[in-house]
């Protein structure tokens, strides 16, 4: 948008921009509120529950205690050094907001701050995207980009109200950092690059994905150097950013000395070294003749490469720098995770992305995006190189891992905005209509034809934009607004109903069990049990200790007597399983069961074998054809215990797997007793029976009891059938 010349028009422009921004922020926030309106102000899913718990701890105990927070209620009996193993950015931000609001006389429940955190920050993301795109093209593209990012489902998916996760703040910080970086490298301003470094620090404190920035900015600089676009502006921007950013990021306890040790950060260090050499080279070049410079260059290059490569080898060999971390490595070698780290492969967020997800998350932006990249190629200014590198890298990452759609979405919005605004630049100019009787002598016919052209092109684009808004609203409301703690459902008559089994069960746990009771459940539910039931768990979503997770997996895959031993050895009082076969909830434990088997097989390959859990034909079944190992496993028994009694007592129908479950396959449960089953049978809780006071093993006790009952029955049958004597 060109700056208007007249003073009044400038004011009008500012007024319009402000109005547009208010509207965009309003749209961004309100479209994220579906879940609050439909359900209630509640924290969603799994990880947010941990963040929420940590925030509450921070608010009530203060910052220094928070940094030293040792949580003895998870990972029993190990505990977790929570303060040193989390990214504190999210919690400190919401605590700061809480304190600030309290100071100005607005005491708000910390839960509401946490729930509404993500929508509020999405407004700031839109603002940062606006400034970022302004640097790339101009303010009209910026406004479009801001509008896109405000409502694009790909970003909403991780930032609806209640989704109190690191990503909620991370995308905002990502865009702010990039915005300052672009400003810095364009102007060479130390102030801007210091801001970029500070926001980078903030990002490091908030999300593990900061490694993306750590590598993207050096990549940008590196490509510019390769293209021969070295300038002193670039030098001052990058060196300032790197020096301040690295030292600042090392202040985060969880990150520590990683920035100078781990290979994830080596690219940044390498480019930092390279730019010094290039700077020296360009200085020498300006002082001596070309011939001399050539010799100097060749010699020093050879020397540098030799020293660099051997140095890297030696450092890695002696263990001063760590190899790639698994999660990062799995991005490049797509089979790596599957083979080496089943726990990463087991997470559905880490699956590759099929094409409908891209369209679903960005609709028509997805095809405007490559067009935008191409248009930027035609200009190819320094800042455009950044956008192109970002686009290529992130398209790859998003294709490999579903959850990285999130980092791709901002750049999709920027590139699409560039395309749309270029189209509007060409066609949205209707000023010729006002120039009546101009000297060029444009006839009425020509004017009409031009008008038709422009109206058609702009009209169709406006129609697509209009459709996009509807698409986004539809996707947000249908796919991304379920808290997954409360499940939406429908009654037989079609009226909406809520399935609230999780909270029902967690509340039962909270109210009816000892305060120090230990609950064994699969790690997915660790944070929720900690957050909602406030009971000690063995494993949770932090997944820092694979062996500990494998122990729970092994207990679930072993026969009940072995499982009892394992669980007793870990002081467990209750076992919690999620079973969806009655109501049709597909994310239940039996569907995750193979991962439990696989993860424990990784630790105890002799005792647990994945193949034993399949039928001889290699099928994963639960009915009569299931393998004996499967039928014996604790998970099978706990999921189906008493299930056929809901039907005819002989056979129950599992609605998820569409299989008939027979009572005789489930058998008896001697070591555990059922204490609670939620309304729709989604959560089932079992208590470990106390050891027999006569010292028998619990199976013998069970057999004895059953025999007694049988004996009683027999006796009752044997009663002499006396006819009345006549």
């Amino acid at each position: 948008m060109p700056e208007a010349k007249s003073y009044n028009l400038q004011w009008l422009q500012i007024l319009l921009k402000t109005a547009i921004f208010l509207a965009i922020t309003g749209a961004a926030v309100s479209s994220r509120l579906f879940s609050v309106i439909r359900f209630e102000s509640i924290i969603h899913e799994f990880d947010p529950w941990f963040n929420f718990r940590a925030t509450k701890y921070l608010v009530s105990n203060g910052f220094y205690k928070f940094l030293n927070y040792f949580d003895d209620r998870t990972w029993y009996p190990l505990g977790r050094v929570t303060g040193g193993t989390l990214y504190p950015g999210l919690m400190t931000t919401s605590a700061a907001i809480w304190h600030a609001l309290r100071h100005i006389g607005l005491p708000i429940d910390i839960r509401n701050i946490c729930v509404l955190f993500a929508p509020a920050f999405s407004g700031i993301t839109a603002w940062a995207t606006y400034h970022f795109t302004c640097e790339i093209k101009d303010s009209s593209a910026g406004l479009l980009a801001a509008a896109f990012i405000a409502i694009a489902p790909g970003y909403i998916s991780r930032s609806v109200a209640g989704s109190y996760d690191n990503e909620a703040i991370a995308i905002t910080l990502l865009m702010v950092t990039f915005m300052f970086w672009i400003k810095a490298m364009k102007t060479g301003s130390i102030m801007h690059s210091t801001f970029a470094a500070l926001f980078y620090f903030y990002m490091v404190s908030a999300w593990g994905g900061y490694v993306f920035i750590t590598n993207l900015i050096p990549l940008h600089v590196f490509i510019l150097l390769l293209m021969g676009r070295y300038s002193t502006k670039l030098y001052s921007a990058y060196t300032t950013w790197y020096a301040i950013g690295t030292i600042a990021s090392m202040q985060i306890p969880f990150v520590g000395f990683l920035p100078i040790r781990s290979n994830d950060h080596m690219a940044a260090l390498g480019v930092f070294g390279l730019i010094q050499i290039v700077a020296l080279g360009s200085f020498v070049k300006s002082q001596v003749s070309w011939e001399k410079f050539k010799t100097v260059m060749v010699l020093s290059l050879l020397l540098l490469i030799a020293v660099g490569v051997s140095g890297l080898f030696v450092l890695t060999y002696f263990g001063y720098i760590a190899p790639w971390t698994g999660r990062f490595y799995s991005l490049w070698d797509t089979n790596y995770a599957k083979i080496h780290i089943p726990i990463i492969a087991s997470v559905s967020e880490h699956q590759p992305t099929a094409w409908p997800s891209f369209f679903f998350d960005t609709q028509f932006l997805i095809w405007l995006f490559p067009a935008g990249v191409f248009l930027l190629f035609l200009e190819l200014k320094d800042e455009h190189v950044f956008v192109i590198a970002y686009s290529v890298l992130c398209s790859y990452f998003a294709g490999v891992m579903v959850r990285l759609m999130l980092t791709l979405t901002p750049i999709i919005c920027v590139c699409a905005a560039v395309t749309v605004s270029k189209l509007f630049d060409e066609y949205l100019d209707f000023s010729f209509l006002c120039k009546k009787g101009s000297s060029e002598g444009v006839s009425l016919r020509d004017r009409t034809l031009t008008f038709i052209t422009r109206v058609t092109v702009c009209g169709s684009m406006l129609f697509y934009l209009y459709l996009f808004v509807y698409h986004c609203t539809w996707v947000t409301s249908n796919a991304y607004s379920s808290p997954s703690v409360v499940l939406p459902s429908r009654n037989p008559d079609g009226s909406p109903a809520l399935i609230d089994d999780f909270r029902e069960a967690y509340y039962w746990l909270r109210m009816n069990t000892a305060e120090d009771a230990k609950v064994a459940a699969w790690w997915d539910y660790g944070y929720q049990i900690g957050g909602m039931a406030d009971r000690t768990t063995l494993v949770d979503n932090n997944t820092w200790n694979n062996t500990h997770i494998a122990i729970v997996g092994k207990a679930m895959s072993s026969p009940q007597d072995k499982a009892y031993e394992i669980l007793k050895a870990h002081d467990v009082d209750y076992v919690l399983v999620i079973y969806g076969g009655l109501i049709g909830f597909s994310g239940d434990d039996l569907n995750k069961f193979l991962w439990m088997v696989r993860i424990s097989e990784g630790i105890w390959p002799e005792e647990i074998k994945e193949r034993d859990y399949f039928t001889p034909n290699g099928e994963y079944r639960m009915d009569a054809a299931a393998s004996q190992t499967m039928k014996d496993s604790l998970m099978y028994k706990l999921s189906y215990y008493r299930f056929p009694s809901l039907f005819n007592g002989v056979e129950g129908v599992d609605r998820i797997r569409n299989q008939r479950i027979r009572q005789e396959d489930i058998g008896e449960l001697d070591y555990f007793e059922e204490v609670f089953t939620s309304e729709n049978w989604i959560v089932r809780l079992y208590k470990l029976k106390n050891p027999d006071h006569l010292g028998r093993d619990l199976r013998a006790v069970g057999d004895f009891d059953r025999n007694t009952v049988k004996g009683l029955k027999k006796r009752s049958v044997k009663k002499p059938n006396l006819d009345p004597r006549v």
Binding site: T334, T353, S357, A371, K422, E426, G618
Partner: protein, 348 residues
Amino acid sequence: MKGTQLAWYVFALFVSLTHALTNDKLYKEAQKNNGVIQLTNTNFHKVLGGKRDAHVVLLLTATNPQVGCTLCIEFESEFSQVAQSWQQDHPKGLSSDGESGLFFARADYEPRRNGEVFTHFKVNNVPRVFVLPPGDDMDLFRIMNLPAESGATRVAWVIQSLSELTGFNDYKMHEPINWGSVIITSLSTAIVTFIVKKNTAIAARVITSKAVWGVGTVFVIVLWISGYMFNSIRGSQYAGVSADGSKVLYFLEGQQQNQFGVETQIVSVIYGALIANILCLIKFVPYAKKFYAHDRNGKPTPSKAILIELTLALTFSSFLYLSYSALVAVFRLKSVGYPFKLFKFPSF
């Protein structure tokens, strides 16, 4: 020397009378056919019956296209990779301690030549892999289940379970070297290098051309956003067949998290069309308008230019609309209940 050799032959003859087939004989039998013994009605009792010191892995299959067993055809090369992996480390087929061995046999269903083998093992579905332990009872065997995932995963799985069944710990998987691809790669590299050498100036212009890089980048991005990585990680099927086998399915309908390989191609073509049209609207139409704004003599011809602009813009807009409608229509196949649609194609 000759004496000892003769003595060996006599000994071998003697041994072969008492034992049905020694490891050595099995090896020779296998050598006739690329390391895999071909079983027929006449030889299968001799090969499998009698006392053996070696394990035998037997594949009963039917690769004849008329039988229509796709799995058999798929498994054929995998089985030979399993066999070759063993033979590469154990040239004589013997285990590392020399006591035992592992040999591979197969019978490809031909009723007249080897029908009896199939009746003997009471096979009613193929492919079937039997593992016969050493001993003299050919009816003592284990049937191996084949996992559903094809390719290297299945080969690794078979080798893993064979090494468990036989107790040979040194059974490692070896990838066969694809000579064809090596030759093609080196040849094409040579040709490209040659051409570049000859035309350095043109090559330099191509390499530094923004448009070339732009097209390349856009191509790669389109590939990635249309699910290419999904196919290569999951090894998705190229296309499907409907339940009654009469129709080819191009889309896994109603599944947003899953796709066929061909979907990537269809979708990337649609994306390509959309991108081309919008770029033409932005870049080509103004260019054409400018081009026709003056005639050859430099006289302004605004009416002509405007007419050209109108025609081109309308054409590209309508193509854009059609391509976008196609994309939405295709997406509607994948996402059940997606409420929006554009132009309705008669075929959908």
